[in-house]
């Protein structure tokens, strides 16, 4: 078995590749398929820990808890009172100190106010002098700026005018160009349409011609086939006739005078016209003697004549045997 397979390494290779592919597909599928309900180890240990507890023990524990709570509450209350007293003392002291500081602050403020007023008057005076000088300078500056502005405006107007002229000229040029382009485009379109039309015409003509040719070829082929068929048919008729005549030539009229009708004879022949078997079809009212004579005639006619064309050879031949034609 192995030896035979080693003679066909291709088969072994094909089989191996097939297996690798199938196994790969199974692997991929196995990876993607969801694993059904896997129980994780942690989940099992996480069960609830329950204990049985006595009711009385539970009540005693409860009472004890209550007493402890009361004690804690009392201590807290006492501590609170002491703290409140301390806080009140502290507050009084603070108020006294605050009042003294306030008085001192007021006296300080009064002194500062007087000094401030004096300083203010001095500053106002100085400011008035400065304002006058400023006004004068500003007037001068404004005049100069006005002059400059006027010159600028004039220049701008001039520029604008020139730009406007230029723009108008440009627009006119563009319009002209667009018009020319449009004309060109239309001409091109017309040309293309014309070409398309011509192309279609030629196409249609070519198609029609091809169709015509095809039809002619078809007709020719059909005629040829018919011709071949006719030729084959005539050859076949000749073939059958040759066989029939040879059989009839070899026929000897049997003794006695029974009915001798036309018989359908079926001959099974092998290569080279060897006769393998003879049977009879419709052979109304014939005697066995008559049929035996025909069979003998067929065997005597061996080898049967060859057909004009090898394609016409038939394993099973059928022909009508007519004794009157002998």
């Amino acid at each position: 078995m192995l030896g035979e397979l080693l003679k066909h390494p291709r088969a072994l290779l094909v089989s191996l590749v097939l297996h690798v592919v199938v196994i790969g597909l199974i692997m991929v599928n196995f990876h993607f398929a969801e694993r059904p309900m896997q129980i994780k180890a942690g989940q099992i240990e996480k069960t609830v820990q329950a204990e049985v507890v006595d009711q009385k023990q539970l009540e005693a524990m409860e009472n004890k808890k209550q007493e402890e709570a009361n004690k804690i509450k009392e201590a807290a209350r006492k501590k609170k009172e002491q703290e409140a007293k301390k806080r009140a003392d502290l507050k009084k002291k603070e108020a006294e100190e605050k009042r003294k500081a306030e008085e001192k602050k007021k006296a300080e403020l009064k002194r500062e106010k007087q000094a401030e007023e004096k300083r203010k008057k001095e500053a106002e005076r100085k400011a008035a002098e400065k304002r006058k000088a400023d006004a004068k300078r500003k007037a001068e500056e404004k005049r100069k700026a006005d002059e400059k502005l006027k010159a600028e405006e004039k220049r701008k107007a001039e520029e604008k005018r020139v730009a406007e002229e230029k723009r108008k000229a440009e627009e006119a040029r563009k319009a002209e160009e667009a018009r020319i382009a449009e004309e060109k485009r239309k001409a091109e379109e017309a040309r293309l349409a014309e070409e398309e039309r011509k192309r279609k015409e030629t196409e249609a003509r070519l198609q029609a011609e091809a169709e015509q040719k095809r039809k002619e070829a078809e007709l020719k082929a059909r005629l040829k086939a018919e011709e071949d068929q006719r030729r084959l048919k005539s050859l076949r008729d000749a073939y059958i006739l040759a066989i029939r005549q040879k059989v009839e030539r070899n026929w000897r009229k049997p003794a006695g005078s029974g009915k001798m009708p036309v018989c359908e004879v079926r001959v099974l022949q092998g290569p080279g016209g060897i006769i393998l078997d003879v049977t009879f079809g419709a052979c109304g009212g014939s005697t066995a003697l008559y049929r035996a004579s025909i069979e003998k005639a067929v065997y005597n006619a061996e080898p049967l004549p060859k057909p004009g064309d090898d394609a016409l050879f038939e394993r099973e031949l059928k022909f009508l045997f007519n004794p009157a034609e002998q």
């Binding site: 078995m1 088969a11 094909v14 692997m27 290569p271």
Partner: protein, 224 residues
């Protein structure tokens, strides 16, 4: 055991189970290769028989046909081989001036021998497919049983047994059965198909042999 890919499952299996899997894989690979070869050969034989029958019954002279075949160098098989051997024996016996019935009988014998050779090469290796088809499920089952035994034995040492402890072992053991079935099913299908095709070919050869013998018989009776 969290990584549950098939590969890790197979590599974690115990040695006997792995051996079983390997055996089954090899059986599957070989049976598919064999199917490929066999299918090719049967197709070729069918095509050959068809063309040769066409030629034989085309009305060609038998000695011409024999001459055409003898010229060809390549090895002949199928109907060609049967025809050639039969006709050669026929010609030889005829030359030896043997009795007519003896001539036909010796030709028939030669053809019988040739035919049985052809049948043998058609049926060659088919038993391997039958064996794979019938045995590999059992081999796979053996692997599975072994794997399950192992996983239960491992379970014996533990106090608290959970399903999670046995499940991977059983899963990996079941792969062996799956592989066994995977190897067996195509082998059985192919075996059935091939045997029926080979039987049809045998009938064809036998028919040809009988017909050809009849022709030879007729030819022997005609004058030399």
């Amino acid at each position: 055991m969290n990584d549950d890919s098939l590969i890790t499952l197979i590599f974690n299996a115990s040695l006997p189970v792995q051996l079983v899997m390997l055996l089954l894989l090899a059986a599957s690979v070989f049976s598919w290769a064999l199917m490929y070869v066999k299918r090719g050969y049967i197709r070729q034989s069918q095509a050959e028989a068809k063309t040769f029958e066409g030629r034989f019954w085309s009305g060609i002279n038998l000695s011409d046909l024999f001459a055409q075949l003898s010229v060809r160098q390549e090895r002949r098989f199928g109907l060609e081989a049967i025809f050639e051997n039969g006709f050669r024996e026929f010609a030889r016996a005829r030359k030896a001036e043997l009795d007519n019935s003896e001539v036909v009988r010796s030709a028939h014998r030669a053809m019988k021998v040739s035919m049985s050779r052809e049948i043998e090469s058609l049926e060659n290796n088919l038993p391997f497919l039958a064996t794979v088809g019938s045995v590999s499920p059992y081999v796979g089952l053996f692997g599975t049983v072994w794997g399950i035994m192992e996983s239960f034995r491992a379970l014996a040492g533990v106090q608290q047994a959970t399903l999670a402890m046995v499940a991977p072992g059983i899963s990996e053991a079941l792969i062996a059965t799956a592989m066994g079935l995977l190897a067996a099913i195509p082998a059985v299908v192919a075996y059935n198909k091939f045997t029926s095709e080979v039987d049809a070919m045998i009938v064809r050869y036998e028919n040809f042999l009988e017909e050809f013998t009849g022709i030879l018989q007729r030819q022997a009776q005609s004058p030399r």
